[in-house]
Every structure is written in C-alpha cells, then in structure tokens.
Amino acid sequence: MAVDKEMEATGAEDAMSETQVEISDSWDVYGKTLSSRFFIGTALYPSPEVMQQSIAASKAEVVTVSLRRQSPQQQGGNHYWELIKSSGCELLPNTAGCHTAKEAVTLAQMSRELFQTDWIKLEVIGDDYNLQPDPFATLEAAETLVKMGFKVFPYCTDDLVLCQKLRDVGCEVLMPWGSPIGTGLGLLNPHALTTIRERLPDMTLLVDAGLGKPSDACRAMELGFDAVLLNTAVAQAHDPVVMAEAFANAIAAGRSAWLSGMIEARAAASASTPTLGMPFWHQN
C-alpha cells in the first residue's frame, strides 16, 4: 500500500504524527486540558436557544460570562444562565465594565464565589469609546489577582512591554486585542501580534476582541496564537449557528496551517509546472 511505503521511506513516526495532528492537538491552560481552540462569548444572541445552539456548533469548551446587579423582580427569569450551565463548558467570568483596578479585583472576588472558579478574564477599560484596556490598571489588577490565587486571562493591548510585564507579575496567558471590541475590524496590527508570539514563545496567547470574519480567526491561528476568543462576530451574524461552525472550521484550518509549515511569501514568480519537455519551443 502506498501509505505503508511512505511510512517506510519517511519514518513511521513522522507519517503517524501527520495523521495524529487532528486527534491530539490538545493544549493545557492553567491546568485544564482542552481540545478546542475556540473560546466563545455568551452575550448578544437573539435568543437563549440560539446562544445554546451556537455554543454547540462552535465546539468551544470555554465560554465567557459576567455578573451584574439583580433586581428582585428578575428572580427565576435567567433562562440564559440555565442554558449556559447545561452546556458543560468551562466558565471564564469577565470583569467587563470595570474602569479601575479596585473595581476589577472586587468583581473578580465576587465572581470567584459565584461561579466557583479561579479563572478570570481581566478587563479594565480605559476609554468608553474604543473600550480599550487600560494598560496600567490592568497590570495593577493582574498583579493583585495573581497574588490572590486567581488564574488571570488579561485582555490587553498589543504592546510588547505591557505583555512582558503581565508575564512578570505571574500571568501565564495573554489576550491581546485584534481590534476594538465589537468592531469586526479583524487583526489591525498583525505585526504586533507576531512580535508578541515570537518574543513570548512560552506564553499561552489568545487573540481577543474585534474579530469579524472566520478568516480573521484563521489568520490569528496562522500567526501561531494558541486560541481565539470572540462573541459579536458569531452572536450578531445573520445566522449565528452556522457562523459558529464557520469559525470553528476556520480556527482548525489556521491551526493546521501553523503546524504544517506555511511557505514564505516571495517577490519573484517561480513556476510550479516543470519547464523541461515544454512543447513548441524553438519551433517559431
């Protein structure tokens, strides 16, 4: 069989590892082994059922959630939360809406008790228009939260020095933005993301925020990022369930591409079809 000959020629282990890429590309984050590289948000869906179906179609194993004031009249009306619980996904609560390190730390403590997890997506916003992370408050909060035993997933800008400092205070994961939250602008600064990947090779990296199309997620994975986090691009698509599946496929494609060694782009053309034996030469 052709496959057997190939295995003899190239080495059984190499051929085996090719087919096993799909099966065993699992990864660890803060002690949890995951096989999906898609973290998906739970907000902005047209209905709880569409949210549930989208999460299932995404095959994500981690979903983001949050916490807000409850009015007594709302008791028992939290259908979204019931469906999130039944998804079987790992919860990644966020500190969305916080503007200071103190707010974020307090909200994280509340989240830890409410959701029974040390995982926290740290979001401290510095500007109410572009919703960018406040780098200074994020770093301050991250340092405090790590000391309190939290497993911090900091939403940050694509600044290398900020990323290094977040690593230095104990974050094992970084989540630099692709573009501002909800814009769908994709990866605005792939050079910066590539720099972070190259200079922090041992960190777990996710692109979080601003992804719009599946090709954006594919690109992020082709840059060598470990996973992506997105919400709006799925939840506000015309058909969120099909879009969730499209993103899942794109993330898998980008991951396979990264693992299989893409060709380098080059300036000069280079024919792929052999020139030897070209008919009609020197006959005109």
Binding site: T42, A43, L44, M110, E113
Partner: protein, 68 residues
C-alpha cells in the same frame, strides 16, 4: 430606619440587621445564586449572617449574566 443604597437605588432597613436578613426584606433570596459587596468590598456568603448593615452603606447584589 437606616438609609442605604441597594444596587444603586435608595432603600431602608431597620438598625442592627445583618445582611442575610436585610436582603430578604429587600426581596432577595439568600438561596439564589447571588454575591454581595458592601461599599465596593466583597462580603463572602459565610459572612452574611454576621455583617451588620450600616447607615449610608452602598450594597451591590449581583447575579450571573451573559458576557463576552
């Protein structure tokens, strides 16, 4: 009666009430999935029964919601 704020709204409570009692007076069920902060400081569930509500306290009672 003490004047406090609960989730940004004005509320009142009799003096020397602990959180666990006060929240029920305000319509919250301690058995629900809720967390509480008083004056931006987290109050763990196991302290609800011995944390007294004081005048002008700003109390936040939060529940799980969707998020991105």
């Amino acid at each position: 009666m003490l004047e406090v704020s609960v989730n940004g709204e004005r509320a009142t409570i009799a003096p020397a009430q602990v959180l666990e009692q006060a929240m029920q007076e305000w319509g919250f069920d301690p058995n629900d999935m809720l967390v509480i902060a008083v004056n931006q400081t987290f109050v763990p569930r196991d302290r609800w029964a011995d944390t007294e509500v004081k005048a002008a306290d700003k109390i936040d009672i939060l529940q799980p919601i969707v998020g991105g």
